[in-house]
């Protein structure tokens, strides 16, 4: 499993990254933790003549928990997310989800930027970020722009990011209410058969807002506004749960693979979403 040879660069700043991307165009690619990219290069499913390692680039790290939002630098690892107590207080769903990604060694290398930029439908953080209505900061030759997670994913490995843009940060409005990240997988370290990210607020016995996104059930994450809407104004009783699950099942489009046939995945998605809503509601 030897990847094709490449030129390796380790620039110290974004300007250096952008210059390399400009000079080498499609032949250049950035690498964060490398735990999606290196396996693809080893299988020769990705060829990268010019590999730009982001590990020394200034300004891409750091977790900031502010008054109204959270900023995660693109190079923040899953291990850092798990270990940050302020973050776990402000947005506990991030730790809950990160703990269900891969294993300790992989989480030491895998970054939030790599996870959301990759575009693999199996990645857990794109759906999570859609649930939280996060915004991605992209820096390119013409400056900086912001793209909502809910607008970012076009198809498998196709995102709103241009090839010569770098994702520098993820900004998340402080989530409110109860949360749950529920994931069905065959074993530790496996991608989801189905996963659900849920964030719910309540007033008295009634649900006031609900945000729901699903993972690995289509070629992109599925943010399902209708499923959330089915809960609002209800006491999240059986009828409301049934309606939310039905709305979600109308929005997903799973395909058969070694995790099971389509009907099985639709069933698992329903079970997982039901559990996630119940847990989030119990914490709201």
């Amino acid at each position: 499993m030897i990847p094709a040879s490449f030129e390796y660069y380790r620039p110290k700043d974004i300007a250096g990254v952008l210059a390399l991307l400009r000079d080498h165009g499609d032949d250049a690619r950035v690498m964060a933790g490398g735990h999606s990219l290196i396996p693809m290069m080893k299988l020769r499913m990705a060829e990268v003549p010019h590999l730009i390692d982001l590990q020394d680039v200034a300004g891409l790290g750091g977790i900031e928990v502010g008054e109204s939002s959270i900023r995660l630098g693109a190079m923040v690892t899953q291990t850092e997310i798990i270990g940050h107590d302020g973050l776990a207080q402000a947005a506990p769903i991030l730790r809950e989800a990160a703990l269900q990604i891969a294993d300790p060694q992989v989480r030491n290398m895998g970054t939030v930027g790599g996870n959301v930029a990759n575009g693999d439908p199996g990645n857990d953080m794109p759906g999570l970020m859609q649930c939280l209505d996060a915004v991605f900061t992209l820096v390119g030759q013409d400056g900086e722009r912001q793209v909502a997670a809910r607008e970012f994913y076009d198809a498998a490995y196709m995102t709103a990011r241009e090839d010569d843009e770098v994702l520098t940060a993820v900004t998340i409005p402080l989530p409110k209410g109860g949360h749950a990240y529920e994931k069905q997988k065959r074993k530790i370290g496996d991608y989801a058969t189905a996963a659900a990210a849920v964030q719910i607020t309540r007033e008295g016995g009634s649900c006031t807002a609900a945000s729901i996104a699903m993972t690995n059930l289509s070629d992109t994450p599925v943010f399902c506004e209708e499923a959330g809407a089915a809960l609002v104004g209800t006491s999240v009783d059986t009828a409301a749960l049934d309606a939310a699950v039905a709305a979600m099942q109308a929005a997903i489009d799973p395909s058969e693979d070694n995790r099971g046939p389509v009907e099985f995945k639709r069933h698992v998605a329903g079970v997982i979403l039901r559990r996630a809503i119940e847990r989030a509601w119990s914490r709201a």
């Binding site: 499993m1 030897i2 990847p3 094709a4 040879s5 490449f6 030129e7 390796y8 380790r10 490398g34 735990h35 290196i38 396996p39 290069m41 080893k42 590999l51 390692d53 590990q55 291990t79 891969a102 294993d103 300790p104 060694q105 992989v106 030491n108 290398m109 530790i188 370290g189």
Partner: protein, 164 residues
């Protein structure tokens, strides 16, 4: 063949310097270039953990790191933990509690367990299983690996208390 680059790293406290293609995987650097054969290759696909080493203080799978990424790094392998005459407490515990059978996974297991016990010196069984989830063993059924790590933790904590 691609262009070679100049690489420097500290492996088990010893400075190493050589020319290598950036695409060389760290596990091959260790095993074939530096003759450090403790870390094993089980799957070569990031799944089994037999290749686990400590890179700049973090457990990583050396089959999923390019040597270029490790330029300037500090690396510890099983060879850096103990010697035949002075075993690391984890090595002693694995021996005494039958934490290995064929031994293929053991260097990765023990190298990972050193970091687990640094991060959490007194782990519960559940925490051990979760913290060791990136390391697969085909022989033991894990029971004795968990026992060994628990025993080593107790031993290391007692030694620390005695020293204080």
């Amino acid at each position: 063949m691609g262009k070679k680059m100049h690489i420097q790293m500290q492996v088990n406290g010893k400075a190493e310097e050589f020319l290598a293609e950036p695409r060389e995987l760290l596990i091959y650097t260790l095993r074939e270039r530096l003759n450090i054969t403790g870390p094993h290759i089980g799957c070569e696909t990031s799944h089994c953990g037999a290749c686990t080493v400590t890179l700049n203080g973090k457990s990583v799978k050396a089959c999923t790191v390019f040597v270029a990424q490790a330029d300037g790094a500090e690396i510890t392998t099983i060879e850096g933990l103990g010697t035949p005459d002075a075993l690391h407490p984890l090595q002693t515990a694995f021996k005494e509690h039958h934490g290995l059978q064929c031994g293929y996974c053991t260097p990765g297991m023990i190298t990972r367990a050193t970091k687990l016990l640094e991060e959490n010196p007194n782990p519960t069984e559940e925490e051990i299983r979760f913290g060791m989830a990136g390391n697969i063993c085909r022989c033991t059924g894990y029971q004795n690996i968990v026992k060994s790590i628990k025993a080593a933790a107790a031993e290391m904590n007692a030694a620390k208390e005695a020293a204080e």
